[in-house]
Each structure stands twice: as C-alpha cells, then as structure tokens.
Subunit: 284 residues, 4 copies
Amino acid sequence: MGPTAILLLSCPDQKGIVAEIASFIYQYDGNIVHSDQHTDFETNTFFMRIEWELTGFRISREKIAQAFSFIADKFQMQWRLVFSDEVPRVAIMVSKFDHCLYDLLLKWQSKEIRMEIPLIVSNHEDLRPVAEYYKIPYFCFPVTPETKKSVEEKEIALFQEYKVDTVVLARYMQVLSSEFIAVYPHRIINIHHSFLPAFVGAKPYHQAYARGVKLIGATSHYVTEELDNGPIIVQDVINVSHRDSLSDMINKGKEVEKRVLSRAVKLHVENKVLVFHNKTVVFD
Amino acid sequence: MGPTAILLLSCPDQKGIVAEIASFIYQYDGNIVHSDQHTDFETNTFFMRIEWELTGFRISREKIAQAFSFIADKFQMQWRLVFSDEVPRVAIMVSKFDHCLYDLLLKWQSKEIRMEIPLIVSNHEDLRPVAEYYKIPYFCFPVTPETKKSVEEKEIALFQEYKVDTVVLARYMQVLSSEFIAVYPHRIINIHHSFLPAFVGAKPYHQAYARGVKLIGATSHYVTEELDNGPIIVQDVINVSHRDSLSDMINKGKEVEKRVLSRAVKLHVENKVLVFHNKTVVFD
Amino acid sequence: MGPTAILLLSCPDQKGIVAEIASFIYQYDGNIVHSDQHTDFETNTFFMRIEWELTGFRISREKIAQAFSFIADKFQMQWRLVFSDEVPRVAIMVSKFDHCLYDLLLKWQSKEIRMEIPLIVSNHEDLRPVAEYYKIPYFCFPVTPETKKSVEEKEIALFQEYKVDTVVLARYMQVLSSEFIAVYPHRIINIHHSFLPAFVGAKPYHQAYARGVKLIGATSHYVTEELDNGPIIVQDVINVSHRDSLSDMINKGKEVEKRVLSRAVKLHVENKVLVFHNKTVVFD
Amino acid sequence: MGPTAILLLSCPDQKGIVAEIASFIYQYDGNIVHSDQHTDFETNTFFMRIEWELTGFRISREKIAQAFSFIADKFQMQWRLVFSDEVPRVAIMVSKFDHCLYDLLLKWQSKEIRMEIPLIVSNHEDLRPVAEYYKIPYFCFPVTPETKKSVEEKEIALFQEYKVDTVVLARYMQVLSSEFIAVYPHRIINIHHSFLPAFVGAKPYHQAYARGVKLIGATSHYVTEELDNGPIIVQDVINVSHRDSLSDMINKGKEVEKRVLSRAVKLHVENKVLVFHNKTVVFD
C-alpha cells in the first residue's frame, strides 16, 4: 500500500457529516482504506478517523487541507490532517531505568513502531551506552531545583532544533513545568507505574505493596498540568499475591509498564488517539 | 433513542461505497448513530455495519430495503437490514448443566441481552424447574440414535411454530445433524468448553488435564457441518496450575463458558456479527 | 476423602516450626493432604495452612486444639483450628442488585461453594422472590438514618439466632456501623465495584467514566471501620474503551463483581484466607 | 539473605514425609525460608520444594546430599539438591528473530533472571552484533539436512566445553534430534508461538489467522522427542480480532512469546519446576 492521508476530526454531531466527508474523498477518486467513527451521546460530539490512499487522489497533498477546510468550517470541526509517510519525530526522556527505553528502541528498530528517534535526553549519564549502541544522540542535563528552569529551556531548544513533535517520558523521574507542557499540548506521553487514579505520585509500588492490592498496573497518559491526571491512553494490570515482595512487584510491573507505554506510543504515532475533555478516543 | 435501522453488508471493495451509503441515509434525513467498517485486504472485501434512527427518516421502514437494493446491486453486496425494535426470538437448547442457561436467563431478565426466549428445549427433564420459574415453555425430547431424526424434526417444527430465528446451544450435549444445521445457517450458536482448535470433540477438560496445559478456555461459535469448526465469535481463557484437579478445571471453566456464550449471544442479537469464509467480523 | 482438620496460624518466624507441626501430625498418624506456608521477611512472620485427614488421626477432634495448644504457645502463634465438615453459615445482605446474589446462590446450589445460607437480609423487598425460589428465609429491614441503629441490632440478633459466622455484602448499599463490624471482625466480606484504592466511596463507575480509565474493576475485601479500606481478598478488572457508555461499564462491571465476590467467599469458607496487618495471605 | 540449599523431590505419598524432612533440617539448625508442596491424588504422588539457609546449617554443603540420602531412600524419592549460589549456565540458541533473545539478555543484565549465559549459538549470522554488544561468545553453525548431525555434535561438544546445564531455544527454527535432546533431558526449554496443543508445528500464526481465532498465544515447554508435545511450563494469550492482519498477529504474538519464555526460564533457573508424567509442577 502506498502513502495515505489521515484525517482526524471531532465536531458537534449532526446529520450529513459522513456523507459529506466520504463524498469529498470519492469525488476526487480517493480509496478509503480505514475509517472509524464514534459518537459521544452525552456531549453530542462526533469523532472520526478516516484514511485514504494518496495514490490516484486527484488533489495534491499540499492542497488537501485547503480543499477540506470548507467542509471543516461548515461542521465546526476540530481537525488535523496527516500523511502516513511523514514519520513522527519522537524524543525520549529517561532517567536510570532502561526497560521502557529498550522496548521502544527494539520496536523502533524492528519497525513495529514507525517513528524517528532523533535524540534521547536524560538527567543521568547511565543510559548513554544504550543510546550509543543505537547511534542516537544522547544529551544529559542533571536537574536540580535551581537549574530546572534553565535545563527545561535548553531541552525545548534542543527539541525544536531536532524538529521533535512528540516527547515520550520513558520513566523520566522529573516533573515537567507547566511552561514545558504548554509547548507540547497532548504530545507528551508519560508512563505511570500504577493503574491510575490509584497511587498517584511517588513510589506507587510501595503504596501498592502497603495497601495489599492483588493486582498492580501501569497507565500511559498525556501529560497535563495536574500531576498524573492527564487523558489516559492505555492501561493494563498483572496479578500479584502475598508471595510477591516489593521487589517482585517492581519486576512484574516493569513488564506491564513497557508494554503499556509502547502500545500508547504506537497508537499515538499512528495518529489513532483523539483527546476530548481529558479523555481519549482511541481508534485501535 | 428511538428505533433504528441497522444495515449489515459485505461486498468487493471499491471506491465510493461509503459515500453512496452515507449519502443515501443523509438524503432521506437519516441520523447515523453508529457506523463501523472493515476492509479485508487479503480478499479485497469491504464490510460495514451502519445504524441510523428511524425517527425522521423519510422512507418508511417497509420500503427501506427496496430503496437500498439499488445501491446493493450496484456494489454486488451481500446484505441484510434489521430494525432495533424487532427483538430476536432465541430458542435455548440444554442438557443437564445449568450455568450457561442461568447466565442467559439473568441477562435476558435484566434486559442486558435484548431477546425473547419463546422456549427451552432439552433432552433431559432436569432443568424444567428453572424454565418454570422464569415462565418459559420447556420441551423435553430424549434423544437416542433411533429417535434422533424424528426428534430433530419435531424440534424444527416447534421452532417454526414459535418463530425462532436463533438457536443457542447452552451446553446441549447432542450433535445436530446437517439437516438441522441447514435450517439455521449461521444462526445456531454453540459453546465449546475449550480454546478451539485445541481439544475438539468430547471431554475437552479431560484432554486439557491430561495434556497439562496452564490455561483452559471456552469458544463460542456458529455451528456448521464440521464438528467444532464453525466461525468463532468469542473466546476466552483462565489460568490453571498443577494445583487444579480435573474438577477444579471444570468449575473454573464453567465461569469462562458462561461469559463467553452470553457475550456471543449478545453480539449476535445486536446484529454485530458478520460471517465471512468461516471467520467472523465482530463489530463490538 | 473424609473430613479433615485445618490449622491456620501465624507467628514470629523461627527455626523448627514446620518440624514441630509436621511431627505433631505424624506422631498421631495424621495424613497431610494440603500444606502451604509463607514467610513475610519484612516483619519476620511465619504463616501456615495445613490440612490433614481426621480418619485415622489418633486424637479425637474435640481434643486436637488442646493437644496443639502446647506447640501454639511455644511459638506464640495466633491460630485457629477448623474442620472441613463444619460447613460455614453465611448470611447474605443485599439491596436491589441481584447479580452477585444469584452467582452465590448458583454456586451454593451446585456445591461449588460449600456453605450454608441460613438467611438473606435486605433493606428492600425486591429480591424476596429470589430467596423464596431457593427456599431461604428473607428478612427486610428498611434503613433510614433514624432506624439504622435499631435495625442493625435486630440484624445482629437475627444472625446470632441463625448461628451466622460470616456475613457477605452482595452489593448491600448501606454502610455498616463500627458496632456491627466489631461483632464480625474479618468475617464481613464486601464487594466494591472498583479496583481499590481507586474510586473509593459512592458511584465508582460514574467516577471511572468521568476519569476516562481504560479498565474497570471490582474488589472484594473484609469490612473494617475505614470505608473501602479493609484487607483485600480478590481483585479483577476488565477492559473498557471510549465506546463503553456508563451503562455498558456498569454491565461489564457486574460480570467482574460477581466473579470476584464469589471467588472471595469461596476462599473464605474454605479457610484459605489469613488477615495480617490490613493485608491478606491467600492460600489458593 | 545468604546462600540457600534447595531440595526438589517427588515420591509416593505416605505419612511422615514432611515431618521427616523438616526435622532433618531443624536437627542441623537449618532455617527454612521457602517451602511448597503438592499432592497429586490421582497418582498418589507427593512433591516438594524446600529451601533453607546454608549459613548456620551444621552440615557442610558437600555432605548434605549424603546425609539426606537416607531419608530419600526410605521414601523412594526422586530428588535433586541445588544451591542458590550455583548460578545455572544457560546456552541460548537463536535463528533470526531477536525479541526473545533481547528479553532474556535484558533480564539477565538486570539480574531479574539469575543465570550465566556462556554462549549463544545460531544457524544464522544475523544476531552476532547483539551477542557482541553483550560480550557473549557467538557461534554460528548453518544447518542443512546433510550437516545437521555433525553440527549437533559440535554444538553438544561446545556446550560441554562451556559447562552448559540448560539450553534455551529462543525462537531457534530447527528441530533438534532425539540424540541431542537425550543429552539434556528436561533441560531444553522451547517457546512455541501458539497456545498448545492448538497449532502444533510450522507457522502457527498462519494457522491461527486461517482459523479465525479470537486469541493467540505462546507456550513454553521442555523439549521431548515428540514435537511440541513436551511438559508445558508457562502459557499465555492475547486477544485478537478481525482487525488484526497476519502481521499484526505476529507482532502481538512476539510480546506474548517473550514474556512467556522469560517467565519459564526464570522459573527453571530458580529450580521451581518439577516434571512428572509429561506435566509440570511449578512452585511459583
């Protein structure tokens, strides 16, 4: 299959939306390869992800947005248009844990997740060898309360230099400032090592161990100003029992963390996630 | 929400299908409430389930099929049109196990599964009191190799008298003949107590126990001529270990069986299952 | 297998505990059929559940406790001795939801859970017909803030009259007072319809829906003074997505609730649960 | 915690086994840290895994086996004695897929799986760079029907030179000969990419895709003469739907394969698996 155009949109629900969009694509000889839609009846909102082949489509990719804007305006859509061959550029931020980083790198290398990883940023030197093995530039900025502001400014400058459009916090153990988050709204993906909203904040496995839960989990979500409270993309859990020590829980949890984060990143870079009212619509 | 029309279709994939269908609905003022589609690229087949409100639709329900047949013919569709307020009439066949029967009855009673259960048929008397409690006619036909043919004829006659359109085998321990199956093509739902295709045939838990598997399962599928080989609708599993005796496995399995069968019946009566080449497309 | 003695104990860990207990049983010709142990290294505590056949054991069941108390004292054990043929008497408390009640009744009827259900108590009349079908006495006490204290007193009196040793809250929608709880310490089992500690308190599905979680769950726990904070026995979850309305979540959740509660009750009546520091050791 | 002795045993069940073993340990001042047992009532067989600290134990590790053999003989035990600080030496065999290899290497590196990996053997050159990054000797022996016998002889010689005691087939795409298997009875661990016994043999994902199953799985088992029929150690599954292409299934399956194999290897090297009658008793 050749490159495709992908349209993601939401708008107040009303009659005729699908007809208009599908007719637009058909009229210019587009071949739809995927389409998924959803209506939220509570808020009367319509959501759609529709993908069609560019080959044979009679509008050049540069002009599709302009051509579509007429329909978008008519239905008051929030929308974005992306192309499957424009591979997202994803910066990975890490601290000392390597399991999520490795899982992302392996899936990037095997093309299971189609993204570019122009750089890895850390507040520690520990994972530099991993980056070097994969020949990815690695930048280390130690963070202290005093340096935090200036470090973040350097990081943002770097991300802009490297044309980063998504930031993945692969167990990055620093809280980002509101200013940082504002630069990448709904484009910073975090992995929290609990089934949120249980065990917000620091040391969730310790909290889980102390509470005596029978399952532990992980949550991947977009970062927003309120800590661990952004729109959830993926969650999963695994069983634990009294036989699991805290360290067993941490090891079991790492398995869940890495698959939850990789899954969320894959969905995001494939443009399958729409954010709406602090929730996500995930077209998987 | 008022009653809806539901169109299920498959056809060779080509440009313009969605545009044509959506325009048809829009043109007569239909409001789409759900739509789901799928393309099988291997066989180049397009599948769709689309649902719109009848209220305000400018074609009366009697005439929709005729109006749509023009589009259906154009795209060589296999299709059916149903209405959400035409509640399916489901006959349940049982032997002695009651767990699947109860689960169906409870979900029917709570309206979680929207169906009518005009009758229950069994080859044993054991579950008559259950049927009586729920005030559902219960017919008992003991089956022997000699009587099988005549019993099946009586059952089919009964189903026709009761206007049954779907038959659910809720652990009915008799194999239906090809003749019986032919009367309800892809409308007889069975629950097999293994994760098919493992452990086809009799006593799957005994087979699973003997093999020493670490998970046991259940499979709900449409009944076809080849035993336990029809299109799979739902499957699920549960963990077992060396600590589970055969009887523990059977008990654990019952939990899986009942939720797998109820889930399949719910999907079926909500017209969310399309059969294609001995597989199912399940729009859930 | 004939009746068995079951010893549940915890004590400070030290050398020789297993040797002493096993020798005690062997010395009187006991045949061990199950044994499970656990050491909590954080608190240096030893836990054990050991079960042996009474047939052939050379101490009569009336005198085992006395004979064992010498060992128990030596190791400062907290312990209890039960016999497998002394079937627990379980009172079920319900409000209007029937799914957990039915699941318990069906597993009681099929002997999957070996207990007696001498009575069902409710604050509503709704489920009386269910109790009547199963021929179980049903008592209805409407609860208001004014009557709560006197109702609880009546209920406790009733439970004592019926020799109840365990109370199961099968979606009973009233909070029990500290006085009530004190009568049945770690013998009142509740089902909470969330994966605790997420969504404590009222309307957890509404909270889950509002938060946009991707899995919902249920937690069975012993009731203690602090609401929804008692020792967790069993937890499980099920996936949800943006496609699930609040009502879909509630229906999916009911499936999880009933299997989590039934599982917890089964473990409890089989004397497989030990409580320790607001956690449970579950010998399953 | 210091080093421990681990005793794994099975024998015909009879009275006094636990008493004798526990007394043996206690008599020489051993401190039991873990103990797990199981009785198979069908065959009347007793299984045990018991672990105690060597520090303070009044028999030197060299003499424990001799001292215990008296008890072992008395009860006709099959048994083995291992020490926790004798780290197993595991050879990994691979072909071209790297996902299972990486998962094992990462868990080896993080000490989540305590083993040594003295060498990696392959029939292809592809994964040599991975081995080099981890500084593990890599041997490549292309296999053809003609060379198979001589290659296996070289491999066995190599394994003996490197003092290998366990062989892990991490998606090694060659069938081992009976002669090879006989050298490592129940010490060769394979990952098969289906939930056995479904989809034995080649291309299980293709088989699963063709059958239209709703879940796919992976099975880790000891290799025996009969293909894909050895004792199962770990199994797991993941949901799939009509939306999953064959290639999606393969990717989803890789996730399951790697965690199932790593889990099995971890259980094996921690001496938690006993084989009995083509099944396993897994003390996890």
